[in-house]
């Protein structure tokens, strides 16, 4: 961690001053810890749902590697997007655009963490799990960040696959392969991502517009985005019931998924019906979109928590 933007000098002085951990906090912020928490939870559910047994130490190592891989990818993303982060109000205070960490150091940190996470996962579990983690990092960095994000309003739809990988990595850590069950978990996160991010982009569209990122509200307008949030949320409901329909979860999960999904749909409907001008821009500070964004986080966490809880109930 030698890339902090400070002037070299001598410590000097007889007494040792107390350590200042604000810089360490900046390095930690590069890992996008809030995104990481959801990624880790999804990976944990994939691991818990997998048939077979994994030594608790190796299971904890697998989760740690998923977290480090996600963090490494996040750091590389912050390195690459430092130009657009600097002009967006939401991201301008991040360590790289704010000048607290040098871009090259952030890149090195991200690559180091990514490589280490893949190698350690391979060492602790199996090569296939390591390969799926490497694929998810590569997808996020090369496909989403470098290719799609600045080119197409479908960036979130296709790029969402990167965030949907963790249950597969968790599952593969136990079994060494992929079957239908983790692919269904992948599909749930894949379908959840667009309404989640488009709700955010509805109130952050000015940021994206300034940065030239073609998020859906910028490229197609707020009205079209509201409709897409509603349609994707509608499509998510049957997908979320697939674990029950395919027989690998029970009625408790089905009930939870239905209730959570109907609530999500109600929020999406509020986004569609929110008082708006002729272009679909909110007349009420995007209150409905903000509520939907917050609920979408709760939705995914609760839905994924329902899977292992349902498994416990059926034992």
């Amino acid at each position: 961690m030698s890339g902090t933007v400070t002037t070299n000098g001598q410590g000097g002085g007889a007494s040792l001053p107390a350590a200042d951990f604000s810089e360490v906090a900046d390095w930690f912020a590069l890992l996008k810890p809030r995104v990481m928490s959801l990624v880790v939870f999804a990976g944990l559910v994939g691991l818990l749902m997998a048939p077979g047994h994994l030594h608790p130490v190796l299971a904890a190592t697998a989760i740690l590697c998923i977290a480090l891989g996600a963090g490494g990818a996040g750091a590389i993303n912050m390195w690459y997007d430092r130009d657009i982060d600097a002009v967006m109000r939401r991201t301008a205070r991040r360590p790289v655009p704010a000048g607290r960490i040098e871009p090259g150091a952030a890149l090195g940190f991200g690559i180091g963490l990514s490589v280490a996470s893949v190698l350690i996962l391979g060492l602790a579990t199996n090569a296939f799990a390591a390969a799926t983690l490497a694929a998810s990092i590569a997808f996020y960095v090369f496909v989403y960040t470098m290719w799609l994000k600045r080119r197409t309003p479908q960036n979130i739809v296709i790029g969402g696959a990167a965030g949907a990988f963790p249950p597969i990595v968790g599952w593969a850590s136990v079994t060494g392969d992929v079957s239908l069950e983790p692919l269904v978990l992948f599909a749930i996160i894949f379908m959840w991502t667009p309404p989640h991010f488009w709700a955010l982009s509805l109130w952050a569209h000015a940021d994206y517009e300034r940065a030239g990122v073609p998020m859906l509200p910028v490229a197609s307008g707020a009205r079209a985005t509201r409709l897409q949030v509603l349609l994707y949320t509608l499509a998510l409901l049957p997908v979320s019931l697939a674990p029950w329909a395919l027989g690998f979860s029970g009625p408790a999960y089905a009930a939870a998924a239905t209730l959570l999904g109907l609530r999500f749909l109600w929020h999406a409907w509020q986004v569609w019906r929110e008082p708006q001008d002729a272009l679909g821009r909110s007349l009420g500070k995007d209150a409905a979109a903000k509520r939907t964004f917050r609920y979408s986080l709760l939705y995914l966490a609760a839905l994924f928590a329902a899977l292992p809880l349902d498994r416990l109930l059926s034992l």
Binding site: T6, D20, W27, H55, P56
Partner: protein
């Protein structure tokens, strides 16, 4: 560099060194535990 800047630099370097030490110790412990777990799984 003013004395205040020098002291700030030292404070940050100390924090960085602590973080590096903890990370390295964590890796050592992690590799040890992985080895033990894999050996016990193989028995």
């Amino acid at each position: 560099m003013t004395p205040e800047e020098a002291q700030q630099f030292t404070r940050r370097r100390r924090a960085r060194n602590w973080a590096m030490l903890l990370a390295l110790l964590g890796l050592v412990v992690l590799f040890f535990l992985i080895t033990v777990a894999r050996r016990s799984a193989a028995v």
